[in-house]
Structures are given as structure tokens and as C-alpha cells.
Symmetry: C2
Subunit: 162 residues, 2 copies
């Protein structure tokens, strides 16, 4: 049995707990953003990335790397956000425009950021305390490294979106 790849009971239990947290947190935080600020989790993700870019602009493929979204999802979502005035496409290059956050987009992210941070603080930071949160961050870094290694060994560059 030692070489069986199946999960042991305690491993399975911990993994299920993690999956439940992931799902509840994702859903709850998304509903909070939508209800209080009229932003979807996808809107929020794009606005955070753009607002933290040094120039307030990124190309769609850079947003794709940051969000891991598929191209078609990115394209459709950016079109919807442009119609709502949250972003603008700036055509420095006609084929690959830059995506820029607008003043309206900046206002939107500034309006929701404090309440979003407060929610994360209440649900996660204060719940776990600093030591356990830091341990969660270190565990996360190790899993991120493992995923990166797995991608290198199993997928040709084209599959990695490069």
C-alpha cells in the first residue's frame, strides 16, 4: 500500500477542509464585492492588477499571466469592463492595445479596497493570527513552486501559454 497514490484518511480530511475553505471564501468574498460595490470578483481582479501596475496599464497577455484566465474569457471580460467605463483600451499598437485603468476604475477600486481588506482581516487574518497566517503563506509558496516544477516537467512551452 505504501506506493499507492491515494490519499490517507487524515490527508483526505485536510484536503477537503482546504477545498471547503477555498470555495466558501471565494463565494463569500465575491458576493460581498457584488452586493456592496457592484463589482464581480473578475472586475476586482483586473482592477487590482491594473491599479498596482506602475503605469496603470498592462497588455492583455500580461493580465492573462497574472490571472491565469483563458484568452477568450479575458477578451470578453475586458470588453464588458470597457463598456462600463472601468478600463480603456489604449491603442499604442493597433493589434495589441494596452489596457488602462480609468479614473472611474480607480474610484471603484479605491471605494471597495478598505472594506475588502477589512473582510479578509476578519475572516482570515484575525481568525488565524500572524504565526499561522505566515505558515499558510509559506505552505502556499511551496505548493506554488511544486506546481511550477510540475508544469516544466509535464507540459511543452506552448501549453504553458508562453
Amino acid at each position: 500500500m505504501a506506493n499507492e497514490p491515494w490519499l490517507e484518511d487524515d490527508e483526505q480530511k485536510a484536503w477537503r477542509s482546504y477545498l471547503l475553505m477555498w470555495k466558501l471564501l471565494e463565494t463569500h468574498v465575491a458576493r460581498h464585492l457584488q452586493r456592496e460595490f457592484g463589482l464581480s470578483a473578475s472586475d476586482f481582479e483586473i482592477l487590482v492588477n491594473l491599479s498596482e501596475a506602475p503605469t496603470g496599464r498592462m497588455r492583455a497577455f500580461e493580465l492573462g499571466q497574472a490571472t491565469q484566465w483563458e484568452k477568450s474569457r479575458m477578451s470578453h471580460h475586458l470588453t464588458r469592463m470597457e463598456k462600463r467605463g472601468l478600463i480603456a483600451k489604449v491603442a499604442c499598437d493597433a493589434r495589441y492595445p494596452e489596457i488602462a485603468i480609468t479614473d472611474q476604475g480607480l474610484d471603484a477600486i479605491r471605494a471597495c479596497a478598505p472594506a475588502h481588506a477589512a473582510l479578509i482581516r476578519e475572516l482570515v487574518v484575525d481568525t488565524l493570527g500572524t504565526d499561522r497566517l505566515v505558515a499558510l503563506g509559506e505552505a502556499s509558496d511551496d505548493v506554488v513552486t511544486a506546481v511550477g516544477k510540475h508544469l516544466e516537467t509535464t507540459c511543452p512551452p506552448a501549453v504553458r501559454g508562453e
Copy 2:
């Protein structure tokens, strides 16, 4: 500053690490299921829930509670899975049929389960080791409890989908 709800640098760093793990793991596991077994992460989630139900059947609202999906997403996805023969709607009650996993659905989940478990073992279980995985599970349980309390204090029952 003590009462500011913003995140401290080390908290922010840990939270970002967690978000990156969440995103990479979700994307990588979903692509693996799609590439190797032709199942989306959504297909997998429904099939796991049904295959673990004692009768192999659940009502749509029970699947909704388990997955936290919105009603319209659930309805559309179940229709697509029915067309592909993975599930069947069993009309014990014309308005609220039960969703049953089919033999084809069972074959699909049995075919991918070992490889899926092996991937989770490689990326998470073996990366963290048992002690850190159990700690992750306990941290997850505490966050799940915190989200539950937050729901009780902030949302009326209707918003909780009851």
C-alpha cells in the same frame, strides 16, 4: 494605526501567496482533468458529489449547497452534462427532479480519480508533508467557521439561499 483594518506587510505577503497558490492549483488541476480526461472542473465537482451520495442521487438545491454555485449556473451545467450522458434527471417529482449519476458518469469519475489523487498528492500532500497539511486543514476549518459566523451576522436567511 492599531484600529486600521488594512493588512500589514507580512500579512499582505502571506495572503498574496495564498491567492497565488489557490489560482495556480485551481488552474493546473482543471487543465489536467480537461486534457487527460475531457472533464471540466465543474463536471468533476458534480460527479464527485453524486458518486459520494449514498443513493448516487441528489436534488439540484443540494448540489447547489455543496458547490455554492448560483442556480442558473447549476441549471445550465446539469443540462449540458445530461446531454453528454454523465447524469440523468429522474422525475420522482416533476418540478424538482433528482439528479442521478449514470453508469457513464461513474465510469468517468472512476477513470480520472486515481490520476487526480496522484496529482494532489504530488503537488500538495508530498510537498507539505503530513504535519503541515493537517495544520492547513485545521486553519481551513477555522476560516470556514469564521465565514459561517459572518454569514449569520451580516446576511438575512434569504441571502444565504435558505
